[in-house]
């Protein structure tokens, strides 16, 4: 493997409080402060002028659909889409088919990762057997098989006693419990946010309160047990407020926000576009602004895409019948740059921190920095390039994106994993 010499880039490494125009060197897959003379001569030189070099992005919430729904996505295609989006590490959800509720399935997934993934992919396991919410999955065996967290994402454990035991048990293994916060009894048949738009459109609403109640429950359970509970894709302003108060008391909870919940609202749903149907649903402007405030003050710890591929024919339906979820990996960086840096005046290093060090911390993975000696996982992007996103020509197997056909600002140019270039100027290498 040739050494790499990235010259003249704006190097942003929030973990080391670094933001300067300088060079980055990679030798034998690791980040180094300088190259040995011989390596220097033979190094592959990348002109970083005008580009930002930062740690490879980390996404702790993706759906790669393998095993079972490989017509939507596979670990191979999903990891390529991730690489194209600047991600070098992702955490995939266990709501596959069958669900990943046992060590054997994790083994299968790990084999596929080893064989097919072009970036680092880490599996999660289920909280409950069959994701049915009735009995604990073999959490210890899942940990031994290599999961970095447990979650019933796509679903939510409704029984409070079971959830209490799950977090207590997982704590023994130092495993975070990730939760998709949704009270089922309040969201029967719901397909969008409950509010003025759902009333106008005649669609069943999913009230904020159904999220808030579970977020509050999880805060209570974390307070009681000390266990780490991570709230996935927070969409409601009250949830942010509940988490803000919990964190000020030092409760061991964390939370993520998605690019779509910070960029879009339910006011866009007037055309019944199924590429705007997701769970939790797009909410109102007040919710959106509070999530952004939560990211700014640290109430929300990181960003995550909830990349959820579905084929065209599955989404091409009546709104009520289309599946929930949209793609996220290839648009995540530009959408968050436009929204947070462009519109809401976040500092660029802060947004990168949300996608790197802070995301990695939640699942305790030793990535997300450009520290000397660390694995050379690097993202190089042009923060100003405007390009038209064509979901149909993306790397994902699916194309269900609300940003299809739109101009986005900010484009990933290189993605480097363990010192190897895996994505370069629009192509997987």
């Amino acid at each position: 493997m040739p050494s790499l010499w990235i010259a003249n880039a704006r190097v942003i490494d929030p973990a080391n409080r670094r933001d300067d125009v300088s060079d980055v060197f990679v030798h034998e897959g690791k980040l180094v402060s300088s190259l040995p003379a011989t390596a220097r001569k033979r190094a592959r030189k990348i002109d970083g002028t005008g580009l930002v070099a930062c740690p490879g992005l980390v996404d702790i919430h993706v759906h790669f659909r393998e095993p079972g729904q490989t017509h939507k996505e596979t670990i191979s295609t999903g990891s390529r889409a991730a690489a194209a989006g600047g991600f070098t590490t992702v955490v995939c959800m266990p709501n596959t088919s069958p669900v990943a509720d046992n060590a054997g399935t994790i083994q299968f997934i790990n084999d596929a990762i080893r064989r097919d993934a072009v970036i680092k992919v880490h599996p999660t396991g289920c909280i409950t057997v069959g994701m049915k919410g009735q009995a604990l999955a073999p959490i210890g065996s899942l940990k031994r098989a290599g999961v970095v967290a447990i979650t019933d994402d796509g679903d939510c454990v409704q029984a409070n006693e079971l959830m209490r035991r799950a977090v207590e048990y997982a704590k023994m293994f130092d495993l975070p419990v990730m939760d998709h916060c949704q009270d089922h009894s309040m969201t029967q048949g719901a397909v969008m946010n409950e509010g003025e738009m759902s009333m106008r459109l005649g669609l069943r609403g999913w009230p904020n309160a159904a999220e808030d109640i579970i977020v509050a429950r999880n805060v209570i359970l974390s307070t009681y047990t000390g266990a780490h509970i991570h709230m996935q894709h927070i969409s409601s302003r009250n949830s942010v407020e509940i988490l803000r108060r919990a964190k000020s008391r030092g409760v061991n909870v964390t939370a993520e926000a998605t690019p779509h919940h910070i960029a879009l609202t339910d006011s866009l749903l007037g055309t019944y576009d199924t590429n705007l149907k997701m769970n939790p649903p797009l909410r109102t402007e007040e919710d959106r602004l509070e999530i952004i405030r939560g990211l700014k003050d640290g109430t929300l710890d990181c960003l995550a895409t909830d990349h959820a591929p579905h084929t065209d024919y599955e989404k091409d339906k009546e709104f009520d019948f289309a599946p929930n979820g949209i793609l996220g990996l290839e648009t995540a960086l530009p959408v968050t740059l436009q929204t947070l840096v462009g519109k809401h005046k976040f500092k660029l290093p802060y947004v990168i921190d949300l996608w790197t060090r802070k995301a990695a911390q939640i699942v305790k993975l030793p990535v997300g920095s450009l520290s000397e000696g660390a694995a050379a996982d690097i993202c190089l992007f042009d923060p100003d390039e405007v390009w038209r996103y064509d979901a149909k020509n993306g790397f994902s197997k699916s194309s269900n994106s609300p940003w299809h056909g739109q101009d986005l600002r900010g484009r990933v140019k290189y993605t480097i994993v363990d010192g190897r270039i895996v994505f370069e100027n629009g192509r997987i290498v």
Binding site: G195, E196, M199, R200, L201, G202, L203, R204, T271, Y272, Y313, D316, K317, E318, F319, D320, F321
Partner: protein
């Protein structure tokens, strides 16, 4: 005016002028209904498909009669035996109907937004005959047509819609149309079925029957659905009737000339006492008749007809 719409999806999108045009044409068509020679030649040789994916006898029959009175051929697509129950998608079903050379589709579907979805897929006119809890535009047109027959202008008139507003496409279409006519619309019923969010549409929301009915010139009742009895939206039909059912005493609060409306089918003794449903203030059966005339006007216009063909110089 010229008619430029190929589809009728919502009343929200229609202008007051468009609604008035439909009403004027319906007035002319209504005159033909009682005659021996009932058929008008406007849609000779056209085939209209009734794609009813949710059961409805009366709306389907009214569309069928309207089409036949305009001399069209009608094919009805029955939900129970349809291929959609065998897993065929709405897109496939609709594209097949178009490929069979249908000239227009009338669709009733439990999913809100499905007529809009079809209108983007197909090259033939799509008429919404009710989509979930979203809209039922021809019902709103026939209801306002009936009100105008009785009250003349609707501007400033107090219209009360009473019942299950949350899940009612009839209520939404009527609110859109009535507000365009300048009526004062009050929505009444239990707070679980009449949420405050409806104020965003421009209607008043009330949970107090007495003040809502006071001096109202129209009261439109909506069907309370038995199947919701077990859910958490209201305690029981009995409780509903005792709190919100229209009986003689409550009807006495109305304006003396008020009319009582109901889109049917009626739950006698639940949302309305039988005596009132059959009484002389009730216009429920007139609504049914007007439904044919209004749907004739809609099918005529969406199929490319122009107001001047029916109205002559007054168009």
């Amino acid at each position: 005016m010229r008619w430029n719409r190929r589809h009728l999806i919502t009343l929200e999108e229609l202008s007051l002028q468009e609604i008035e045009t439909i009403h004027r044409i319906a007035t002319v068509f209504k005159k033909s209904l009682g005659k021996h020679e009932k058929k008008l030649p406007y849609l000779v040789g056209r085939t209209i498909v009734n794609l009813f994916l949710e059961p409805s006898t009366r709306t389907r029959m009214a569309f069928e009669m309207a089409a036949k009175r305009l001399s069209a051929d009608v094919v009805s697509f029955d939900a129970a035996s349809s291929s959609t129950t065998k897993g065929e998608t709405l897109r496939d079903t609709a594209e097949n109907i178009q490929a069979l050379n249908a000239d227009a589709i009338v669709i009733r579907h439990a999913a809100a937004g499905s007529p809009l979805y079809l209108s983007k897929l197909l090259g033939i006119p799509v008429v919404n005959a009710g989509d979930g809890a979203h809209e039922h535009p021809t019902q709103g047109l026939l209801d306002t047509f009936t009100m105008r027959e009785h009250l003349g202008t609707l501007k400033g008139r107090k219209v009360v819609i009473l019942g299950d507003i949350l899940f009612s496409r009839v209520a939404r279409s009527n609110v859109h149309a009535l507000l365009k006519f300048g009526a004062n619309v009050t929505l009444v019923g239990p707070s679980t079925l009449v949420p405050r969010t409806f104020e965003h549409m421009g209607a008043k929301v009330s949970h107090d029957l007495r003040s809502a009915l006071a001096d109202a010139e129209v009261v439109m009742l909506l069907r309370i659905q038995h199947e919701r009895q077990n859910s958490s939206l209201f305690p029981s039909l009995g409780e509903y009737t005792s709190m919100f059912g229209l009986n003689k005493t409550r009807a006495s609060w109305l304006n003396p000339n008020a009319i009582i409306m109901h889109p049917g089918p009626i739950n006698r003794g639940v949302e309305i006492d039988s005596e009132l449903a059959d009484g002389d203030r009730s216009v429920i059966l007139e609504q049914v008749t007007n439904g044919i005339a209004v749907r004739m006007a809609v099918l005529f216009l969406c199929s490319g007809g122009q107001p001047a063909q029916v109205l002559g110089d007054e168009a």
